[in-house]
Amino acid sequence: KSCQTGKISTVDSAAQSHTSRDAGVQTDQSKDALQDFQQEVQVDYTSLLSFLQGVEDAVIKELNKNWKSRAFDGFEVNWTDQNETVLCLHTLAYPAAQDQALQVTSVSWNATGSVVACSYGRLDSGDWSTEKSYVCTWNLDRRGLNPQRPDLVVDVPSSVMCLAFHPSQPSLIAGGLFSGELVVWDTSRTEDPVSWRTGITDDTHTDPVYQVDWLPDAKHGNHARLLSVSTDGKILVWREERDGRLALAEGFAVVAQQIPRITQLKKFTWGEAAVGVTSLSFSHFDPHVFVVGVEGGYSLKCSTAAEAPALHRTGSSLPLRAPAELAFSPHAGPVYSVSCSPFHRHVLGIDAGAARRARNLFLSCGTDGQVHLHSILQTQPLLSLQLSKKYLFCVRWSPVRPLVFAAASGEGNCNEWFCFIGDVHLFDLEKSPQKPALSLKQAAGECPVYCLEFNIKQPRLLAAGDATGTVKVWQLSSDFTEQGPREMNHLEQLASETTD
């Protein structure tokens, strides 16, 4: 027997080997990149010198041509579709809260910019209220968003006066209550969202907490500490303890006697009276400097590095310090909101001169219907705008355009000739410092708007909460969201022409 396999024919077809070439190799920018730079680079200085000499003339010629050039004047490129209109994207409300005639006391956007939260409470109740209130969140990026049904509703036993989302953890939100307590909720926990609370201790505020804020911790990068401000004059910084409690880490107390005197305030009575603090804003360039607005109508420049102890009477576990360094000239009524300009060096990159001046600007608004633009360096305001005869509850700088800010107005006697119709006003200092560039009517009829916040991640969105219990999310037109050429220069000019 024989075994025979068929003839297997083989043929050499082409064999292909890869030719490869190094295209660009990109590594993650790590600290090593910086260290490489700092080490001694092997440089042939003579060839470097000859290169620079050869190239110097050409570059200088171009630089000179550039600053004299009028070639590009008025030439602007539109990369995105220009959206001319301002729309109200969403009208969010929680019907159960509206039935109880609760008002929106505060709105906040979370770290990713997709969730907006609002707190319900009452801003006009004078006495100690034990009314229940709510904190509601809506995720605007979800499909099937029902504006009448919040994604999360938290029942709170006391009235929530202010809210703030954590700047980097998208599910943590802190709230200050009418009772003086602070609570931090974790919205990712469905059973019991309460993460930490202060409870009522000797350390907590004795008056309603009007503003909470997260203070970026210089030591721990992502970590942030909670700061609260109240009309009892105390500014407290809290630390999270393991058992779900918030313990006092450090504190400041603003006492009338310790405020640096300015001439206009001579007529106010002094003493150890606590000064009611209603609002606070941290400077974006110096983590130690912050500005507070007080019930007395003036703003104060304060520093966390202050050492002097405060003459505060009530006992607390930690000694409180007096932070005030400079008092600015007052409004004719309590200051309800202050906001420091967010434009600082990293945003601008190169233009250090304008950055230095812009860093020093902050806005304050109060019940006299005026907005003051101050430089942190001097007591007199740079600009004083009379927006309306109504109270102004909130003022915020735009996060993208250095010359734009928004103000929310409400109650108060309105003089027909003088009032700007509308409740949320957007000012563009480039176009006109006297009239608002845009006025948005939040609702039909007289409806005070108590709070507003720009969405930092999606700068076209502005959320505003009002007295009828609705939160409106406005989409702004592109002129409010795109920085024009040379806008920082205008801001710098504005800051310097009025100081001179």
Binding site: V41, S47, F51, G54, E62, W67, I350
Partner: protein, 67 residues
């Protein structure tokens, strides 16, 4: 590219150096693809906020940023 001298802060410098080196190489190959006898002498990028000028060389790159 590795930065040798700079008037800006470190992280911005490294960012500019890396990005502009790549862009300069691409611009140079564009010029030479169109006309092999030609070569890139100067690159200017005008943006809303400033103008970036790059003077290239065989071994070095000079980057100037003007408002």
């Amino acid at each position: 590219g590795i930065p040798i001298r700079t008037t800006l802060d470190n992280s911005t410098t490294v960012q500019y150096a890396g990005l502009l080196h790549q862009l300069t190489m691409k611009a140079r190959s564009t010029v030479r693809d169109i006309d092999p006898q030609n070569d890139l002498t100067f690159l200017r990028i005008r943006s809303k906020k400033h103008e970036i000028m790059v003077a290239p060389d065989k071994n070095y790159l000079l980057i100037v940023i003007q408002n």
